[in-house]
Assembly symmetry: C2
Homo-oligomer: 177 residues x 2
Amino acid sequence: MARADAVRNRAKVLEVAAQIFATEGLSVPVHEIARRAGVGTGTVSRHFPTKEDLFTAILLDRMAGLTRSADELAKRYDPATAFFELFAMVVREGAHHLGLAEALAGNGYDMDTIGAEAGFDVAGRLHTLLIMAQQAGTIRPEIGIGDVKALMKGCLADEANKNLDTLLVVITAGLRA
Amino acid sequence: MARADAVRNRAKVLEVAAQIFATEGLSVPVHEIARRAGVGTGTVSRHFPTKEDLFTAILLDRMAGLTRSADELAKRYDPATAFFELFAMVVREGAHHLGLAEALAGNGYDMDTIGAEAGFDVAGRLHTLLIMAQQAGTIRPEIGIGDVKALMKGCLADEANKNLDTLLVVITAGLRA
DNA sequence: CTACAATCGGGACGGTCATCCCGGTTGCCG
DNA sequence: CGGCAACCGGGATGACCGTCCCGATTGTAG
């Protein structure tokens, strides 16, 4: 049985790391995370042998929520609406989570693979909705999932995040058939 | 009068660095650039005291061409057409120049400032065309230059660069009033 | 051709960071 | 309450990189 303090420390590290990754991105040193969590770097290393392990754990948590939302949208709305809603949801999530945005921007973390392996395949859900909407004739047929991801990255690149809604309007208008 | 070999070395470094930045991005070590140029790291350092100096020199060269093209477009076409052409031109330039794309994506280099100081203000040209096109009623009025840059980054984020034209069509359609 | 100064090469230095390791500590079972 | 195994802290280690420095070299003026 794991010791109580070990469980507490693991949770504390996870909580602090999630906060830091969200506000300051992935380039924060592990030592800094340990310091703010009030533990030693060794403690972080033991629970998450690699910095990537730590971030993956946090990522999966986020993606779990998105996947659930995706499924709800899919059954509640028509494909195109569900697609655009999910698109906006992912982008908004990334807009106030710097680390997530960086991961989406492809700084070494392959979110698709990570998510797919854990059953939280957000990209897959998006792709399915895209194809369905295209078959229904509501989204341009020549669009690929790669184009969609590129546009998502564009939204996340908006530093100010002030005009996110404007961008979404433009992109939505452009994607519609 | 500068020594002939110094001139040669400077040119060689510039040429090799441009090639490397284009194909492998900005994270290539300076030592590697020196090695491939057949010179010592000291030689690189002397001509370009900082890695940023080296990249800036290359950047300015690219931006000079873009600025010239921008001016031609502006006098040959109506604002909206010129805007979209310039947009496409910048994106295409970035598509086969990894370093340029990274700089646009904001990895520490402020292209706008660099370009403006040297008189190659691509962003400024783009902004002017945008406003003119908006006054002519051909582009949505709520768009800001920040939105435009975000969309540009999106295009450059397309790893495959296969569907660049598709993306441009989508974005153009979305931006039009 | 000679000598000197500009230039060169590449190793040294300093800084950053992720990961590993180990002596000290403490929760927990009996 | 005692003892041990699991756990803790944080310093040590090693990798990477940009920049600086200096002894060796070489172009060039005279």
